[in-house]
Symmetry: C2
Subunit: 299 residues, 2 copies
Amino acid sequence: MNILVVGSIAFDTVETPHQSFLDSPGGSALYFSNAASFFAPVNVVGVVGEDFDLKVIDFGKNRPINFDGLYTEKGKTFRWGGRYYDDPNKRDTLFTHLNVFENFKPEIPKHFRNSDIVFLANIDPDLQLQVLNQITDPKLVVTDTMNFWISGKRSALDEVIKQSNIIILNDEETQQLTGETNLTRGGQKILEMGPDVVVVKKGEHGAILMSKDSYFVAPAFPVQKVVDPTGAGDSFAGGFVGYLAENEGFEDSELRKAIIYGTVVASFCVEDFSFRRLAGLKKEELNKRYSSIKKITTY
Amino acid sequence: MNILVVGSIAFDTVETPHQSFLDSPGGSALYFSNAASFFAPVNVVGVVGEDFDLKVIDFGKNRPINFDGLYTEKGKTFRWGGRYYDDPNKRDTLFTHLNVFENFKPEIPKHFRNSDIVFLANIDPDLQLQVLNQITDPKLVVTDTMNFWISGKRSALDEVIKQSNIIILNDEETQQLTGETNLTRGGQKILEMGPDVVVVKKGEHGAILMSKDSYFVAPAFPVQKVVDPTGAGDSFAGGFVGYLAENEGFEDSELRKAIIYGTVVASFCVEDFSFRRLAGLKKEELNKRYSSIKKITTY
């Protein structure tokens, strides 16, 4: 199966306790497609400014990423700046310059409209709905969002959630969306909003997968030195959705394995800044770390 | 195998967002022994005041707990007061009245000195050393501690850790003891201090078991309504040590199962206040929840 992703493409400026990185390529669509392309073909829709050259990004060899939906507009590319702390679950946004992203209206190229799986990365829910209106009978819709849209565009977001099969959120977003501090109760409330499956990411504490009939707890891989947490969530989603596309099944047993592959890709992503670690990565390294996680969870 | 526990016996006053409980029986030695006695015989050493009547506590039927080491002194029993919030990992201590516990010098009854496993609950490390000096060639020493002793009695604590086989700490204590925010690196530093195994408890995020050759991540059981978190850590330790005693083996595969049984007992403990939930609990309920945890972690 192939995957369509619609999301941001950005230059990220990142400060960590140990290093700073200025204007590294980033954004949800790039992290997602990079991660998912280990498993299946990915069609990208997004917008960049004239200052962005796709050629500077190393996506590794022969990864099936199709950039026919990448639009270049007059002006600058979206820029995000953030600061991380010793606690990798803590993050401050220093600035957000939307630039060309401000007027982005996703137009899905005709040959992308029958993609099998759609991943709606964290963008304005009104745009997410525009995407859903353009695509033809997808087999699976997976959606991400963030605090900004939960508080600012709630009714559009509710409609997106209703039309999605799988929602991926972090713990804080789950609490914000449902008013529940208990993530299990929060997840159940989200299921009542329409989707079949909810995935709650808990950073270094792993992730929970919930559906009406199933509950699965996945650990994080114990990364000893997190260099740059940027993109962890999107590469998690990329590994998760990529595995589902590769294996062409969405039943509970596949979803569980997909969560572990998402965990694996995210754990590599944070080991270096921007796409550095993902670029040179091989599929067998992913499989090896998958086995390592099996070892640390089996009893 | 049988177990010796030396720890506190207390009256707890607990405030939660929903309820308050005044002077409920508690303390590390009672929570631990209550939990461990589902699996193996437990010998308790501790001190109470004249206001404490063991008969008011319901430990369930025929649990093998030996109170020959319970000393009654003139004065009042140790009292602790705490407040919990909607986030069950957050806790404030409102008061600590040591009372008879202030002059406690643990004297291990002769027939307790050859207990197979020793659990040093969270008490002054000088007293923990006094216990270790009185016992005869234990097969396993398991030790708990807290922030107060890490900052206030570091050299005695280091000696206790050196003489212990297994250290059980929570995430904050691990960070405080090692200066490492990364729990994996923190755990490795503790292993370098002498013990064979470190268990790091992460509350609702589960626990990690680390040794030189092994790393195991256990989830928490998703309790939907936490009534009173008091005693969760000590009942976790009780289930963990109890299982090891029952199965008479300390190899990695047994340690992993023991962590899950610790998780199981702790998850029941917090479902009601004081010992209410543990009192009426049956072994088959423990086994059933063990299977539930297997289901939510298998892929």
